[in-house]
């Protein structure tokens, strides 16, 4: 029973990692006032870039860099449309999702001829699991052993990076001058502008940060968790991350807890498939799939606290009116 529980928690960590990376990515963007429903597309683009380059070079790190490059480019496109041209941020996000879905499958087929997938990665093209010291020796100790050996040890480096990004994001947003300005520009850009700070440049830096983290999230899917890119492999994770961001009320620590919760639901759903619960019967897997969205809607309805987005989110900043 306890071992089962640890295994579920272990897969919770694996499943929440991409959500957490994408959720923190959205946090930077939305805190600066740029709504981003293109997280899904950026993750997908990054997953493809990472998968393709890791296959060609047999180097996971170069794959990660390529993933980040793709994701940041898409982020800059979002910035160009919504910051420089003051276009509608939602429409721009939808466009990015379409572009990523189409281009990854199209280029994948053109370059690799495997129905849009990238070929299985060679040795070195994947981030392997890092086994902590003494994991095997400690494993036999009851309770502490499995927790150490299964839960903490034996994950790939991107998992640890994701969880380290949480305190880092908190520190950047709440303890640095850049973070203060970033949050200010999402609440009251006019005030930031009056102080002589460029709203445009700040928001661009936010979408770049968002792109970098989405790059990690996408690379995790294709070259750490998986062994190659598959068509539409994000399968809505970007939108779950968006839901998590709202559920966490745009705060880093809450984002981590929410992503762990959503990852846990996913892990339980996989575990429960085809199993009868005493008294309840079999719970359909679709119930668990829908639960993150249902919970977010209930939260938005104001029944679990209140989610107040950054005040200037979604509104393009106009410096002067003519």
């Amino acid at each position: 029973m306890f071992e089962d529980f640890i295994l579920i928690l272990d897969s919770t960590v694996r499943l929440s990692t991409p959500l957490l990376l994408a959720c923190l990515a959205g946090l930077y963007s939305e805190r600066s006032g740029v709504v981003d429903i293109g997280l899904e597309g950026k993750m997908l683009g990054a997953a493809f870039g990472a998968g393709a380059v890791a296959y060609i070079t047999a180097n996971a790190w170069l794959g990660l860099l390529a993933g980040i490059a793709v994701s940041v480019s898409l982020g800059l496109l979002h910035g160009f449309a919504s910051i420089s041209n003051r276009g509608n941020q939602i429409v721009s996000g939808v466009a990015i999702n379409f572009l990523a879905a189409g281009l990854t499958a199209l280029l994948g087929q053109t370059w690799f001829r495997q129905g849009g997938r990238t070929p299985a990665l060679p040795e070195g093209g994947r981030f392997g699991d890092i086994v902590w010291p003494f994991a095997e020796q400690i494993r036999e100790i009851p309770i502490i052993g499995p927790i150490y050996a299964e839960l903490f040890s034996s994950h790939n480096i991107l998992v640890y990076a994701a969880f380290l990004a949480v305190p880092l994001t908190w520190w950047i947003l709440f303890r640095t001058r850049f973070g203060l300005r970033l949050r200010a520009v999402g609440e009251n850009p006019a005030a930031v502008d009056t102080a002589g700070i460029s709203v445009t440049w700040l928001r661009y830096r936010a979408v770049i940060a968002c792109g970098i983290l989405c790059g990690f999230a996408g690379a995790y899917l294709s070259i750490a968790q998986g062994a190659g890119f598959g068509v539409n492999m994000t399968a809505g994770k970007g939108f779950i991350a968006l839901a998590a961001l709202i559920f966490a009320k745009w705060r880093p620590a809450s984002a981590m807890l929410t992503c762990l919760l959503f990852g846990f639901l996913d892990a339980v759903a996989i575990r429960m498939q085809g199993q009868e619960l005493p008294g309840v019967g079999e719970i359909p897997v679709q119930f668990f799939q829908a639960l993150p969205y249902v919970l977010t809607v209930i939260l938005l309805a104001g029944f679990i606290g209140k989610a107040i987005p950054p005040k200037a989110a979604g509104i393009p900043y106009l410096k002067e009116r003519s």
Binding site: N85, G87, N88, F98, L103, A105, L107, P284, Y293, S322
Partner: protein, 366 residues
């Protein structure tokens, strides 16, 4: 940079044309990147979608879907709302169509089933839009986010229903039984054989869609409710001062929008598939955003934009057949580029064009 600075034909004609041209130019570059000839690709695309009767039939069939989802987005636009949930509303709308057809198809002819299918699909689509609408109106939670969430909830719900309650007994496929003749709309090829639509599934719901265009035009520009919707969209604060109820306007607009999206299912389910199945919406709801943007939220513009996207769908299918290097994913890329240039980058060419036209306008005034 106000709208009044440019002549109408520039605002409604030249700028959308430039945006579209930019989107197609970039699409051409993508085709070159894949190693095919873009001019040849355009030729195949146009011929495949308009060159012969069956191609035109398919183009009109896809256009019917886009008219419904485009109108849905457009109606919400007029109230300043962004209904991004057409995908889920159309999916759930399928439930309404299927219920009407499954109940009546063996008893009455199709023309008696159709009104129930229309009401059913619109009611289910509207119901799916109701909670996001009500939350936006009374709780201030943003309709964009809630409708996205409802798309995913709809998807889970439909997979669940089609794997259980609605599944045909003894079948392994997650779909309902095939409808009898009473649950099938006639194909236009059977009604007008002279057009030679062949096996194209274009059917009577094309006329339902055109009727919906007329009704939306009447609603928005010729009724009190339409006036309230437009006022609320133009300036919500002023509208509230004028005595227009924000809750009522938001909820009613979203119900109409959701209903229109739901009606898309008539074309797919009752007109073509003749059974309810998984994932029959596949992006039509999202493309509705592009259709509404390009059509400037006006029914005539929406019909034109829907035909254009119908051409892309049908011509793209033909293209992937003729040029195997260009898979159907190319259509998604082109759609993305159109949404990008006609939607998100809609103001990109404006400053340059205003500069171009300012001397001319000043000369006219003098």
């Amino acid at each position: 940079m106000t709208a009044g600075q440019l002549p109408r034909w520039v605002d409604l004609g030249l700028i959308p044309f430039l945006n579209l041209a930019a989107a197609f130019l970039v699409s051409g570059l993508v085709v070159i990147l894949i190693g095919e000839n873009p001019l040849e690709a355009v030729q195949i695309l146009v011929w495949g979608s308009l060159g012969y009767g069956e191609g035109i039939g398919f183009t009109l069939f896809y256009a019917t879907n886009f008219i419904f989802t485009g109108l849905a987005v457009a109606v919400a636009f007029h109230a300043g709302l962004f209904n991004i949930g057409g995908e889920g509303q159309a999916y759930i709308g399928g439930l309404g169509v299927a219920m009407a057809c499954l109940a009546l198809d063996g008893i009455v002819p199709w023309y008696l089933t159709l009104p129930f299918a229309i009401v059913g699909s619109a009611a289910m689509g509207a119901a799916w839009a109701f909670i996001p609408a009500w939350l936006q109106a009374t709780r201030g939670s943003h309709v964009v986010i809630t409708t996205i969430m409802f798309n995913f909830i709809a998807s889970s719900l439909m997979v669940y229903l089609l794997n259980g309650l609605l599944k045909e007994e003894g079948s392994m496929q997650p779909e309902t039984r095939t409808f009898e003749d009473g649950g099938r709309l006639p194909f236009l090829n059977d009604l007008f054989p002279s057009f030679g639509f062949g096996y194209a599934p274009v059917n009577l719901s094309l006329f339902v869609a055109l009727a919906a265009c007329l009704l939306v035009w009447l609603l928005i520009w010729r009724t009190k409710l339409g006036y309230e919707i437009r006022s609320f969209g133009a300036n919500a604060t002023a509208a509230v001062y004028a005595g227009i109820s924000p809750v009522r306007t938001i909820v009613i607009t979203m119900l109409i929008s959701g209903g229109l999206a739901g009606m898309m299912a008539i074309n797919e389910i009752m007109g073509s598939q003749h059974r309810l199945l998984i994932d029959f919406v596949t992006g039509y709801g999202f493309v509705g955003i592009a259709v509404a943007l390009m059509g400037r939220a006006h029914p005539v513009g929406i019909i034109l934009a829907a035909i254009l996207f119908g051409m892309l769908y049908q011509g793209g299918a033909e293209l992937s057949f003729e040029m195997p290097n260009i898979t159907r994913d190319m259509i998604i890329v082109i759609q993305g580029l159109v949404i990008l240039f006609a939607g998100a980058l809609e103001y990109m060419f404006r400053p340059a064009i205003i500069r171009l036209f300012t001397p001319a306008l000043k000369a006219k005034e003098a």
